[in-house]
């Protein structure tokens, strides 16, 4: 076998191997890409994923239509607090909801609402930067925003900055995080990009893309060599 043919067969051999390996993934990526390109045309992609295993994989609790609010007839759903026959109260993310002597307190990312049991807004505190976590220390509600901590004074309905928080209390993540809707299109997108399997999945898809380039080049090289 001439040296020229040796290289040609070497390239062809690896071209075949890479092609066989890529086949199954290429079909999957092409098919998922096709559906992602037409998310508006396929209604089923807008549906919520109710499968417990998939939701758990995303760190979400079991699927519920809405998050019920304790000691009240209301519920949180899709970025709003809802009470029967009342206009929805905007609440992109619900950190915490609890009953106090003065009323029910709903801590949303940018607003803190004092609500009656029927869902009327008694008072509201707006905060420009969103809160990300909360913790209760000796009956006092503390809220976290970046590196800053705030103390919520329920009786005077006042939010004050706390400089040194001595307690090592664990911060709780927003309540609504566990109940966030997970759409099928999101799962499909994560599978398409490899993000579904975390960082490793992303690198794996990067590898597939690299192999696809190799496949194209090896195909081109072997075609040109055969022509000569």
């Amino acid at each position: 076998m001439s040296k020229k043919n040796h290289w040609r067969f070497f390239i062809l051999r690896w071209h075949k191997r890479i092609g066989v390996f890529l086949a199954i993934f290429a079909i999957w990526i092409a098919a998922s890409g096709f559906f992602l390109n037409h998310t508006e045309d396929f209604d089923f992609l807008d549906h919520s994923v109710k499968n417990t295993s998939i939701r758990n994989w995303y760190g979400l609790t079991q699927y519920t239509e809405h998050l019920p609010l304790q000691n009240s007839s209301g519920y949180w759903q899709a970025g709003a607090l809802n009470f029967s026959e009342k206009a929805s109260i905007p609440c992109t993310q619900l950190l915490h909801f609890y009953s106090a002597s003065v009323g029910n307190v709903a801590i949303c990312s940018s607003d803190i609402y004092l609500l009656s049991t029927e869902g009327d807004i008694i008072d509201k505190i707006h905060h420009e930067k969103p809160f990300t976590a909360y913790t209760e220390i000796s009956g006092n509600m503390h809220l976290k925003q970046g590196n800053s901590t705030f103390l919520l004074d329920i009786n005077n309905w006042f939010l004050s900055s706390v400089d040194n928080l001595t307690s090592n209390s664990a911060w709780s993540a927003p309540l609504s995080d566990h109940y966030t809707e997970l759409k099928l299109s999101r799962v499909l997108q994560d599978l398409h990009s490899g993000r579904f399997f975390g960082k490793a999945g992303v690198y794996f898809v990067d590898g597939l893309a690299f192999l696809l380039i190799i496949l194209a080049l090896s195909g081109l090289v072997s075609f040109l060599k055969k022509k000569k």
């Binding site: 807004i121 008694i122 008072d123 707006h126 420009e128 930067k129 309905w157 900055s161």
Partner: protein, 167 residues
């Protein structure tokens, strides 16, 4: 260039005022009183609710408002939507007459001129008439019509609430 720098300045003022709304309220109270008194709440009665609806064109989005008082001098911090975003306004009222109006947080992208002293000082010594109108005409600002209206309405509301405490 000058216009550009002015716009940059107004934008920066708007951004910094957003960040420090809580501080602005505390500073406003500090400037109004030597020692800030503890806050009190005024609950909207059905009559007060109806009157405030006449003034604002909609119900005030809360069942109560907070105020600070020292004798007949009271401070109200209220919010009203300009075009899309709420404007937080601090109003000092002494014996039914406006002493000071100050914008504590302005979140709209346009119309920030209402924060300037040349505009807010027009409210000094203004009273509320029986037909819920202000006793003096407030000159508007071109391009800030909705913000001007919001400030006028919120001042009328503060005067109404203040009057309700006197009756």
């Amino acid at each position: 260039m000058c216009i550009f720098l002015r716009l940059m300045f107004i934008s920066l003022v708007a951004i910094s005022s957003q960040v420090s709304k809580a501080d602005a309220s505390a500073d406003f109270l500090q400037s109004a009183f030597n020692t800030t008194p503890s806050s009190k709440f005024l609950w909207f009665t059905p009559a007060l609710k109806a009157q405030s609806k006449t003034i604002l064109g909609h119900e005030y989005p809360a069942l109560r408002v907070k105020y600070w008082a020292e004798g007949k001098r009271r401070v109200w911090i209220l919010e009203e939507i300009g075009k899309e975003q709420p404007i937080t306004v601090g109003i000092v009222i002494n014996s039914g007459e406006v002493e000071q109006v100050q914008v504590l947080a302005y979140r709209e992208s346009r119309g920030g001129e209402v924060q300037e002293d040349f505009f807010t000082r027009q409210f000094k010594k203004i009273r509320l008439l029986d037909n819920y109108k202000l006793s003096k005409k407030i000159d508007g600002i071109t391009g800030a019509t909705l913000s001007v209206r919001a400030l006028q309405n919120v001042t009328r509301l503060a005067l109404l609430l203040d009057t309700s405490l006197n009756t």
